[in-house]
């Protein structure tokens, strides 16, 4: 259980955040400057909140009212920074051992060999950080944090400085850690794909405040998310299971209560839970199911709400048969032509290749 209730003052910038979660991965999401990093720095003890309380697994790390403020070295909080921050004067082996040596033996729950194997660090041990690639550095940084046997792992935009293939690689490792070590993770990001894929519990921050909190699919499908989180594109998240693979065409079928989605090949076993994010601009609506069209996904639903009716663009939210939400971004002209209004039955058309593969991940 992670509980944070902090009030932070950084010059003229104020951050107020309160959330509590039992989820394996809690994501703090919002654009840069929203106050996400301040919150995890406060959890790590690198920044002292003006007021509040922070507890991990029932252990109080900070409590302004009770006068408790553990120094960072006593918090047992693993911190993975945006830029790896490996010690440049030490080998990878020495970097990994740094925190391990400082952890009392009875409190160690990770074994060096296991971490090294899990993160694929065997061949890097004798190298110096300057000779590693970005992805390798970040893997070592994750390993170094884990070797101190932390009670929670804080990851502050760990993928921000990596290219797309490296991002995908590290994401897989993060999922592996969650499943193998059962260590609660707080993941800070401004990338919607990462959050969709990883997070179980989502805390959305804007201008120093928590503006939405809850299960990922619920929060991300909210119609007002665009205004709340700004930049990222509107869309919806569907929780599904892998129903099967079509090897011949390289496609994967995802089943969910309200229907089935066909997406480009996803590397997951049949039956595994996954999450798919569908961007609003990739969804078209029709009043009848098209018979001769290339769309792989035709989902039946009912219009739940129609967004602001001004300007050229309107976001229409649908409810699918299983209660799932889907958002379609249409022109106002189309909304008028089809006479879309709450209660109207429609068919949502989604191209298989439009589904953001990076956001499809193990749930």
């Amino acid at each position: 259980m992670l509980e944070a209730d902090v009030e932070i003052e950084r010059g003229s910038f104020r951050v107020e955040a309160r959330f509590a979660s039992n989820a394996p991965i809690v994501a703090l999401f919002g654009r840069s400057g929203a106050g996400k990093s301040s919150v995890i720095e406060a959890i790590a003890g690198l920044l002292r909140p003006r007021a509040g309380r922070i507890a991990v697994g029932g252990r109080v790390l900070f409590d302004a009212a009770a006068g408790i403020d553990l120094p960072p070295e006593e918090r047992r909080v693993g911190y993975v920074f945006q830029d790896d921050l490996l010690f440049p004067h030490m080998t990878v082996r020495a970097n990994l051992a740094y925190g391990e040596r400082l952890t009392p033996a009875p409190e160690r729950f990770v074994e060096a060999r296991r971490i090294v194997a899990l993160l694929g660090l065997e061949r890097l041990l004798e190298r110096r950080p300057a000779t590693l690639s970005g992805g390798e550095k970040q893997r070592v940084a994750i390993g170094r944090a884990l070797m101190a046997s932390p009670r929670v792992l804080l990851m502050d935009e760990p993928l921000a400085s990596l290219d797309a293939p490296r991002k995908a690689e590290i994401l897989q490792y993060v999922e592996l850690l969650r499943d193998e070590l059962r260590l609660p993770i707080v993941y800070v990001s401004h990338a919607i794909e990462e959050v969709t894929r990883l997070a179980d519990h989502l805390v959305v921050m804007a201008e120093g405040r928590v503006v939405a909190e809850g299960a990922v699919a619920d929060v991300l499908s909210r119609a007002d998310m665009v205004e709340l989180a700004g930049r990222f594109e509107a869309g919806a998240v569907i929780e599904a299971r892998v129903a099967g693979h079509d090897e011949a065409y390289g496609l994967t079928r995802l089943a969910f209560p309200g229907g089935e989605l066909v997406v480009a090949n996803v590397d997951a076993l049949v039956g595994e839970p996954v999450r798919a994010r569908i961007r609003a601009r990739d969804v078209a609506l029709a009043l009848e199911a098209p018979s001769k069209a290339s769309f792989q996904n035709v989902l039946e639903g009912v219009v739940h709400s129609v967004g602001h009716e001004f300007g050229a663009i309107v976001d229409v939210t649908l409810t699918l048969a299983g209660g799932e939400r889907l958002v379609a971004r249409l022109t106002r002209a189309s909304v008028a032509r089809l006479a879309l209004a709450p209660g109207v039955r429609v068919f949502a058309l989604v191209k298989a290749i439009a589904i953001d593969r990076r956001s499809v991940g193990f749930a």
Binding site: L46, P72, F81, L85, Y98, G99, L102, A130
Partner: protein, 227 residues
């Protein structure tokens, strides 16, 4: 080849400079750390005091040392029962050298410490290291180039120290007569120009060797941490 007397002068100079640097290094590191990392009221004044020997006439420093650490001075009297005597001893020459070299040393070490990313120190703390351990395992090793530069600068400055030394501990052959003092003495004696020249050449060679050593030191260390 240098004569026996000349070698003795060189040996004394090296001894004075070495102990001057070695004894003041820990204090210089502490001062540099405070100046680089801490904020406190009166910091500007503290900084100015540290830099004072750089701008004061060396003779003034020597005179103040004489007043404070002479046998009748308050510090001198305080330390004498413990067998610590500076007046007219080579230790006094080392003290004068240390004080004159101190601002240079602090300046270089401070730059070295300021170049260390404080977030590396934060990372070390989240891994369970207390402040002291962070300092010795992260800050100091990474500030190494500044440390080496500071020590060499102070060493070279000590080898050349004249004004404060001659004022404080006089010019006693075999005890306080370092290279510059010996050269000065020869220039005061008619017909000893050659002897002064020989010592001057030795002095130049010594300074060059010190610089080369520091260069090699920093480079080797630098290559290791970048490689």
């Amino acid at each position: 080849m240098p004569t026996r007397d000349e070698l003795e002068i060189v040996a004394l100079s090296l001894k004075v400079a070495f102990w001057g640097v070695a004894a003041s290094l820990p204090l210089a590191i502490g001062t540099a750390y405070v100046l680089a990392r801490k904020r406190f009221p009166g910091k500007t004044l503290f900084d100015a005091v540290v830099h004072l020997p750089l701008v004061l006439p060396p003779v003034v420093v020597g005179f103040l040392l004489l007043v404070l650490f002479g046998r009748q001075g308050p510090m001198g009297r305080l330390l004498e029962p413990f067998g610590i005597v500076f007046a007219f001893r080579w230790t006094g020459a080392a003290l004068a050298a240390a004080i004159m070299g101190f601002p240079l040393m602090v300046r270089a070490i401070r730059l070295g410490i300021e170049a260390v990313d404080t977030r590396l120190e934060s990372a070390a703390r989240t891994l369970g290291a207390r402040r002291g351990r962070v300092f010795f395992t992260v800050t100091l090793p990474l500030a190494w180039p500044g440390l080496a530069t500071g020590a060499v600068l102070a060493f070279a400055r000590s080898l050349g120290e004249f004004g404060a030394t001659i004022t404080f501990v006089s010019n006693i052959p075999g005890e306080t007569q370092t290279l510059p003092l010996a050269i000065y003495t020869f220039t005061q004696v008619p017909g000893a120009g050659l002897a002064a020249m020989r010592l001057s050449i030795l002095s130049v060679l010594l300074s060059l060797a010190a610089l080369a050593a520091s260069e090699a030191f920093t480079r080797r260390r630098g290559v290791r941490s970048d490689a």
